[in-house]
Symmetry: C2
């Protein structure tokens, strides 16, 4: 029963209010199409380019919403999170704009460009080992010592609502879709997207895409409970995290299926996007297109929306 309540807490009005609240802090990002990619897939694909979002990723949306909803007392003590990168940057920038302190726990093997960005946005970086337990422990230490509010990268209703505004904008500009495809990491984007679709384009079907090397969402949908990742050995560094109890019920209820993608398919699809859309995007962004290419029959002739999630790539470390 907790499952249904959790999903029901986030109403259509909550999503509308969230969007109005964060508008001064975000871009309504452009949508691109590519004739060559449409020819290749024989589909009609619209890429919502959150790589052009402030600080370079959709995470700015959820971060801004979560901070704006804090009480004055909470704001005084600052916020803390653990993040493989973009959520930490987003909180750093949003916190700076609102004039509060941000403590960012990051795995020491995160891309250098992401660490540097957190610092440039004024966040205080705390490095830890690259596993969930180490991250959570480091964050808890800050909560206890500083009284900071923990803002989870994906398992937080205000974050989920914020992430959903990207798809809301896409629907507002281009109407309904046959399918909306997004990558799945911690589950915040896909849960928010599913809510936007449910409230604004309920004929559309939401499909997740996930690396074989970090397939907790795929297995969780099969088993009906939250499963852990057995490996996180994927180039898609934004997708190494796992689902939580706030977003899983929404995913379970609203998401049609999850397509798993191989590492070489991620790289090939990333190259296609760079070459034909002429944009810089992270490996994580390329899973939805890879899913369309590998399941071509399912998507033939369909109108499809894809969220290009971020563009914070270390240019010295490209996979091609």
């Amino acid at each position: 029963m907790g499952v249904i309540l959790s999903g029901n807490k986030m109403t259509k009005n909550d999503l509308i209010d969230c969007h109005e609240r964060i508008k001064p802090f975000i871009h309504n990002t452009p949508v691109l199409t590519s004739k060559l990619i449409n020819d290749l897939t024989e589909a009609d694909i619209y890429f919502k380019c959150e790589n052009f979002q402030k600080m370079g990723a959709f995470k700015m949306r959820g971060a801004a919403n979560a901070i704006l909803k804090l009480s004055d007392e909470q704001k005084n003590n600052g916020i803390v999170t653990h993040s493989s990168g973009n959520h930490g940057q987003a909180l750093s920038l949003a916190a700076k704009k609102i004039g509060i302190k941000a403590y960012i726990v990051m795995p020491s093997n995160a891309p250098e460009i992401k660490k540097a960005a957190v610092k440039s946005y004024g966040g205080q970086l705390i490095e830890c080992e690259s596993n969930l337990i180490a991250r959570e422990e480091a964050a808890r230490t800050i909560v206890n010592s500083q009284g900071a509010t923990f803002i989870h990268p994906s398992n937080n209703e205000d974050v989920i609502l914020g992430q959903g505004t990207a798809c809301k904008e896409l629907i507002e500009e281009y109407g309904s879709f046959d399918y909306i495809l997004v990558p799945v990491g911690g589950g915040g984007l896909i849960a928010g997207t599913a809510l936007a679709v449910k409230y604004f384009a309920n004929k559309s079907m939401v499909i997740g895409t996930e690396p074989f090397e970090s397939d907790d969402a795929y297995r969780s949908l099969l088993s009906g409970k939250i499963e852990s990742n057995t490996t996180t050995n994927t180039i898609a560094d934004g997708l190494r995290s796992q689902l939580g109890d706030k977003n899983f019920p929404i995913i379970q209820k609203e998401v049609k299926s999850i397509i798993r993608i191989k590492e070489e398919e991620i790289i090939e699809s990333m190259k296609l996007i760079w070459q034909h859309l002429k944009i810089i995007c992270e490996p994580s962004c390329s899973l939805p297109l890879a899913g369309i290419i590998k399941n071509k029959e399912q998507f033939l002739g369909k109108k499809i929306g894809i969220i290009i999630t971020g563009g914070n790539v270390d240019l010295k470390n490209l996979p091609f």
Copy 2:
């Protein structure tokens, strides 16, 4: 006197007619800004993203206009050009759309991605040595044997008018500018841009940017006559060509100055654009930003338009 006549042939109405003629064949490309780049330069910069143009470069504009203005008899015999790449691709695609034949002469050391693209667009590729004499001779052979019409990449009034429509769109969307900066290769883009500014935003100043390694325009403006390149040893492969008698008079009359850029400045600026604008652009595109960075005082606080000329980069061969 020929100088003035040549410039005067292309009227405001010619530019308006050209734009209407080519609209079905081109995108009105998006304009991007970057807070980080504005902070760095302390200027207000608008990037007109012709890397998102059809076939990936502004050259589609001039190519479409030049082909659309051919007589039926000329169309029957096809067209021929020599090009370091994008003009050849653009003519191939425009010719295919109009159903005529395109013969494309290219230097054998042109990027592989550009050769492959010409073929994929249906153009017939003819390779030659990497110098102007070899290119012109190969093109002349096709004119004589096939009766094809030669369409020069930059020294052609219909091409110049077509290229000017990018700046016309930028002005239509964002009003007047203090400065418009473009790279200078063969002179088609800067001449067209100068006409667009003259007719639609005559308070703006047009400034060219050119590699030290291919500085014919800089020296031509100094000497008052068309000078040859002494080297073309620049990474900016789109800028190795030189001015012609159709565009030089316009440049002489309408362009305020040319800023020369070093190779390392090109690469550094290209990296900034990739990292902060999150777009794929060619080395040639990065000269205007490099010019602003190296002459920072001149551009402090100014509203500046830049044409990002193209995005056809060989991703296997990046300079960083």
